[in-house]
Amino acid sequence: MNGYRNRFAMLALQNAPLLLFAVLVIVFGLMSDRFLTPVNFLNIINQSSHIAIIAIGMTFVLLIAGIDLSVGANMYLSAAILGVFFVGMPPLVAFPLVAVLGLAFGAFNGFMITQLRVAAFITTLSTLFIGRGIALYFSGNKMVPFSKDVLTFGRTAYLGIPSAIWVFALVLIIALIVLKMTTFGRQVYAVGADPDAAAKAGINVRRVTFAVYCICGVCAAVGGLVSGSQVAVASSTFGFQKEFPVIAAAVLGGTSLFGGRGGVLGTVFGAVLIQTVENGLVMTNANPYIYPLVISVIIFIAVFTDSSRTTVLERLERRKIRVEPD
């Protein structure tokens, strides 16, 4: 009897974030009959894609216990360059070029962190300013419009699925393969768990560190592209303070800020969860003043349940010396 209840509690705890998600969906669904529709579902994913893409990159950085505050600036710089310099280019040429620029941005962060040993927080804090400054210089503070091709790409659906989701899915699949299926991916976890041990085990810690910042840079640029092609222009606040929702999405998805724990699937879940709440609030025509209040409360509840779960699970899974009969 007792054991049965325990098992039930365990099951509930282990799936706490999913339960929360389900509760939200039901509540919003009851409040608005347009919420629970396939179209709206697609819409939520579509809108969360740019955050999710950047958060996937951020997950790599967080897995090695790093941080990248410059993703918002990177986003803006990429979008500004796309809009200012790559005007006549077809998206198929321009997009990879922008991704390479994002990579270069990330590589600069990585270089500062691995070669000059500047703390990640400070490095990316300063590149946040520098990146934004350069982007503002290119854009002359003006709104940067994108070419027709980019805009068409942004609003086209292929096989009924918006382009942003395709890009998102592609990034997610690549990230999953890299993290789960390659030596590098496993080494990311090792470095995050214990960099000293990783160095002793013969892992090139600097190279792994450098690489994750490059990956984060690419993801930020791609996220900038996706967002830019949707919102049609990059204003001077494009990407401003995006680092916070991005990190929140990763942490909501169970990635630890202290490295070694988490994964991209959780991150995607976190990003979608946040967007679901925003969407639900609009669907139910809530007072805009309370948006940030509701969203923060829900993020709080999610993290709260996650922490209590970890605490309880740790207690339950403590190594037993004696096996007692029930």
């Binding site: 809108q47 002359g140 003006k142 494009f238 003043y289």
Partner: protein
């Protein structure tokens, strides 16, 4: 201690970057005016600062710039820095009408004329001149035009308003102007969505998409600033609701500011009306206020730019007064 060559190179480059700051040379005998903006997020401000730079140059004045990034305290610091540099006049666009009062006092104390551009300060004993568009009235007039159009066509309307940053007076005045008219016509127009954009294109995009998802029958759309037009176009296109006037399914659509995008959309027939702030006039008024104050005169504390509503009907007649048209003309040859 050994510096590797790489460390040395990077260090040297960074140092060179820091030292190579443009050397400021203060010209003798000319007037220097400080332009203190709180942001440059929309074309209105960007064009504004450009027009100011040009006109100041034409007057033979130097300009200094500072952007406060919506931080009232930082802006106060910037005013003090400008006082420290002993400029001849301070043009300021504050974020908060009350928080700017200490800055006005400081300028008064230093004997430096201060002009508020586009946003007036709150009542106080300090003296400064404010130039402002009559936001509430212009917005009300604009929405009135849209309502009249709606009446002509008949039927019921579902309205959506894109609100600006709820911490900004202009956003609030424009919102109030909108409701002044809409509330009077509640029998015909139901406001189904108020999208909070925080003056952020990306939020506007997401918010409007969600609003259209919840209310696919929205057919009356007003934005508090023209800079969000590209997002609106993108969302309406995606939803298959981007049609010209007179076409089946056209969404009644009004903007505010009068930027180049608004002109283009008016010309193409997508936009029905736009509340225009007369930017040229406002800059002239502001600079005239400086000249008056230097001459020892004391202009009125609040000088209003009446603005005007530009519509399909008066487009050709009024376009020369619309600053966005000038920008558009420059961009399109």
């Amino acid at each position: 201690m050994k510096l590797s060559r790489r460390e040395f190179t990077v260090g040297a480059l960074l140092a060179a970057g820091t030292m190579g700051l443009p050397i400021m040379v203060k010209a003798q005998g000319t007037k220097t005016v400080a332009l203190l903006f709180d942001s440059l997020v929309s074309p209105f401000w960007v064009s504004g600062i450009e027009i100011m730079r040009e006109k100041a140059k034409a007057n033979g004045w130097e300009t200094l710039e500072n952007i406060s990034d919506f931080d009232d305290n930082k802006q106060f610091e910037q005013v003090k820095a400008m006082i420290g540099r002993k400029v001849d006049g301070i043009l300021i666009i504050q974020t908060d009408s009350k928080a700017v009062i200490p800055a006005i006092r400081a300028a008064n104390e230093a004997g430096i004329p201060m002009v508020h551009f586009n946003r007036p300060p709150a009542e106080s004993d300090a003296y400064s001149v404010a130039i402002q568009a009559d936001n509430r009235k212009i917005m009300a007039d604009t929405v009135q035009f849209l309502v009249d159009e709606a009446k002509k066509m008949g039927g019921k309307y579902k309205a959506c308003l894109l609100i600006g940053d709820l911490g900004d007076v202009n956003a609030i005045q424009r919102r109030d102007g909108f409701f002044d008219v809409v509330d009077k016509n509640a029998d015909m127009i139901e406001v189904v969505a108020r999208v909070s954009t925080e003056w952020n294109a990306d939020k506007a995009f997401a918010g409007l998409t969600n609003a259209l998802q919840a209310n696919p029958d929205i057919n009356f759309l007003v934005t508090s600033s023209d800079f969000m037009h590209p997002q609106i176009e993108q969302v309406l296109q995606t939803a298959g609701k981007w049609h010209k006037r007179g076409e089946e399914g056209h969404v009644l659509f009004a903007g505010f500011d009068g930027d180049e995008g608004a002109y283009a959309r008016l010309k193409d027939g997508y936009l029905d009306a736009c509340g225009v702030q007369n930017l040229f006039l406002e800059v002239d008024m502001a600079f005239q206020a400086f000249i008056d104050m230097w001459a020892g005169k004391k202009p009125e504390k609040l000088l209003l730019d009446p603005g005007f509503v530009i519509t399909q009907a008066n487009l050709t007649e009024k376009q020369d007064e619309m600053w966005g048209y000038t920008v558009w003309k420059k961009q399109n040859g």
